[in-house]
């Protein structure tokens, strides 16, 4: 569903992504790991369409279309969802109002009628149940006054309602204690199916204990330098990133 080829992107003239290639098929879970500053978050934002980043070379094909041609909102309407590393607060706008607007915009894009209050509420209640969330969350302003864990769970809740085809989870595990991590992972696992793809960006392999990836990629200095399976993540956990850096040097030599 997603085919990234030789993607280069920069911000303020600084090149961050230096030729990324990645294939994601429906039903697959990919984990992207790497040290700080390797370009993990940049990749997430570029895919979601953040305009600060300039794509200087390469291509991104999504469901047969050139993703880079789409505005951020149209990418979302096409089924891409970015769970933010730092979810943004929107004072005065309740979660439910926000989600209803988003969902109906997506529906409008696909020529569907908007969901009216009662129908929408029904859908939302189903999702809160699946994720074992408290309904009081719905009436609170988006992310305002939420704890770190609540914010991350709220991201997954939005994902549950919007039902994206491709979810990009940007360090969804960061800042979570073990219980919150389990709750968030449970949620993601419940939403996973054979038709959607998931890209998880993370520092730590502990998330992968809960959500088992099909592939693990190591991002280093703006490039994917190594790909493997679950075992690669365990190896990274044990040995850190230095051995990969060494390998890289040797290859260059």
């Amino acid at each position: 569903m997603l085919s990234i080829k030789n993607l280069h992107a920069s911000i303020g003239g600084n090149e961050i992504l230096k030729g990324i290639s990645l294939e994601v098929k429906a039903g697959e879970v990919h984990a992207i790991m790497g040290p700080n500053g390797s370009g993990k978050s940049t990749l997430s934002k570029v895919l979601a369409g953040r305009e600060e980043y300039e794509v200087t070379a390469g291509s991104v094909e999504y469901l047969g279309k050139n993703l880079l041609d789409f505005s951020p909102e149209d990418r979302a309407r096409e089924g891409i969802f970015l769970a933010f590393q730092y979810p943004v607060e929107i004072p005065g706008v309740t979660n439910i109002m926000f989600l209803r607007t988003a969902l109906n915009e997506i529906r409008k894009y696909h020529g569907k009628e908007p969901l009216e209050g009662p129908e929408f509420l029904k859908l939302v209640r189903e999702k809160t149940k699946i994720l074992d969330l408290d309904d009081s969350l719905l009436k609170r302003p988006v992310n305002e006054g939420f704890s770190g864990g609540e914010k991350k769970r709220n991201e997954i809740f939005q994902m549950a309602v919007l039902e994206p085809k491709l979810a990009i989870l940007d360090e969804t595990d960061s800042g979570l204690d073990i219980d919150a991590l389990r709750a968030v992972s449970d949620g993601i696992n419940k939403l996973k199916n054979k038709d959607n793809g998931i890209i998880m960006v993370t520092h730590y392999q502990r998330l992968l204990d809960y959500i088992v990836p099909d592939f693990v990629h190591v991002l280093l200095n703006g490039k994917i330098v190594k790909s493997g399976t679950r075992e690669l993540a365990l190896e990274l956990e044990e040995k850190g990133y230095d051995w990969i850096r060494e390998e890289q040097k040797e290859e260059v030599v």
């Binding site: 979601a48 305009e51 933010f84 943004v88 929107i90 004072p91 706008v93 988003a102 915009e105």
Partner: protein, 477 residues
């Protein structure tokens, strides 16, 4: 790239002008102008005397400069003080109203035929210096409610006018109040008799049409013992390159157990994106809760005007009286606003609430200025003030000047203020959920204004919501 950088101007829907034969006063201001207006209105001598006193006082006054708005000096001799569509002198029914005028109001969304109006809203339609017609007069009369143009009230209800006009805003009050008292042309008059709950919403729609003309209207609303009325005013003007002055005076009086709810949706032409043209909206609005247990509530949604400068206020004289001020003010492009309220606590156990929501976008500049005054005798006064500012982009400004003068130690005063900003992060977050930047602004702004909009009558709340999104259209690139 900054997403909130580019500011374009959305089309002002009401910017058309009506080509109609006008009768104008000679340009400029003098005693003759005052006499001319008074004669046009067939006013009694006492009214002319009042005007002349006001005019002479105005001559001794200086243009105020303390407000935080900037504009070139107004040449008061370069303004027409009276402009009226040529029409039959007396209008008894709509058949006698110039079809051109009916059409103008229809285009503004105010059909004046009673059957086409919202059944529960009576309208007084003011076009430049005259009231065109007032609807549902008969139905209201049955309840003893007087709702008519100010000019008519001067002739027909002179005792009430003599008693109340200038009792809340005397002509000596300020520069523009003095000017208004001298040259006011029309406006609305409302009297709700004892014990009557006005059966419908009353509203006045002000339309400025003529070029180089000022509009100086007066509104006077009296709710007698136990009476209740909800009143709404709306206003628009054509797009013109020169600035036009709108200097109105509004006075509200509530006797014992009475309540007046006064709502404004102000959409005067705001000028173009470079600040050319637009209305100077310099208005004095004040109400007095004269009787015990009475209540005055101001709600304003100010989206138009090049400059908005007004402080709808409450004098809480009666014991247990309540004053409220709910405001949303928007400044986009080069608009400026210096607005707020004054709550003067005189009686015992008086209570006031202030909720002010400022929205600045473009290069708009906005000031909240408010005074809460508790006099020595005002035992147990309570005030809660909430002043919020929302900035869209990084070229606009918001300022808050709350003043408190508390002379009674039993007073309980609370003040909260916040400033927030719609930033690129919020917009991107919304976009990544399928909501366009423009819709995101509208969503955020409406969420922000919720506390004020809920005070408006239902139909007008919807109108205000729409208006707000139009005012901010194009505020994100």
């Amino acid at each position: 790239m900054n997403e909130i950088e580019q500011f374009t101007k959305s089309e002002y829907k009401y910017g058309f002008s009506t080509d109609i034969e006008q009768e104008m006063a000679p340009k400029g201001l003098s005693e003759d102008t005052v006499r001319f207006i008074s004669a046009k209105k067939n006013e009694p001598q006492w009214m002319l005397d009042y005007r002349l006193k006001a005019y002479r006082h105005w001559l001794t006054m200086k243009v105020p400069t303390w407000q935080n708005v900037h504009y070139p000096q107004i040449d008061f001799q370069d303004i027409y003080y009276y402009a009226a569509p040529k029409a039959k002198p007396k209008l008894n029914s709509l058949d006698e109203v110039d079809p051109e005028l009916l059409d103008t109001f229809k285009k503004l969304g105010i059909p004046l035929e009673e059957q086409k109006l919202l059944a529960n809203v009576a309208v007084d339609a003011v076009f430049d210096s005259v009231s065109v017609t007032t609807t549902f007069k008969e139905a209201l009369k049955e309840k003893g409610v007087i709702f008519c143009s100010f000019s008519e009230a001067v002739r027909e209800h002179s005792e009430l006018i003599k008693q109340y006009m200038g009792s809340v805003v005397p002509y000596t009050d300020n520069y523009y109040a003095a000017l208004n008292a001298a040259v006011f042309s029309d406006g609305s008059f409302v009297y709700i008799p004892k014990g009557v709950r006005c059966p419908m919403e009353l509203s006045t729609y002000f339309r400025i049409n003529a070029e180089n003309t000022g509009q100086f209207e007066r509104t006077l609303i009296i709710a007698d013992d136990g009476a209740y009325v909800s009143y709404l005013e709306g206003c628009t003007a054509p797009k013109r390159d020169e600035n036009q002055l709108h200097a109105a005076v509004v006075e509200l009086i509530t006797n014992e157990n009475a309540e007046i709810k006064y709502s404004t949706v102000q959409n005067w032409y705001a000028g173009d994106e470079n600040g050319k043209g637009g209305i100077y909206n310099f208005v004095t609005k004040r109400g007095i809760c004269k009787g015990n247990n009475s209540k005055i509530s101001w709600t304003q949604v100010e989206t138009g005007s090049a400059i908005t400068w007004k402080y709808p206020s409450c004098i809480l004289k009666g014991d247990n009286s309540i004053g409220e001020f709910y405001s949303v003010a928007v400044t986009n492009n080069a608009q400026q606003a210096d607005t707020g309220t004054k709550m003067i606590h005189l009686g015992r156990n008086t209570k006031s609430t202030i909720v002010s929501k400022g929205i600045s976008a473009g290069r708009g500049n906005q000031t909240y200025r408010g005074l809460v005054k508790v006099s020595k005798a005002a035992e147990n006064a309570r005030n809660h003030s909430q002043c919020d500012s929302l900035l869209i982009g990084d070229k606009c400004g918001a300022h808050t000047f709350p003043y408190f003068e508390i002379s009674n130690p039993s007073a309980k005063i609370e003040h909260e203020a916040t400033t927030s900003k719609i930033g690129d992060d919020q917009l991107f977050y919304c976009q990544s959920r399928g909501i366009s930047a423009e819709e995101a602004v509208s969503l955020i702004v409406n969420g922000y204004c919720k506390d004020v909009f809920k005070e408006l009558p239902m139909e007008f709340a919807m109108e205000a919501t729409k208006l707000l999104s139009i005012s901010l259209e194009g505020s994100v690139g």
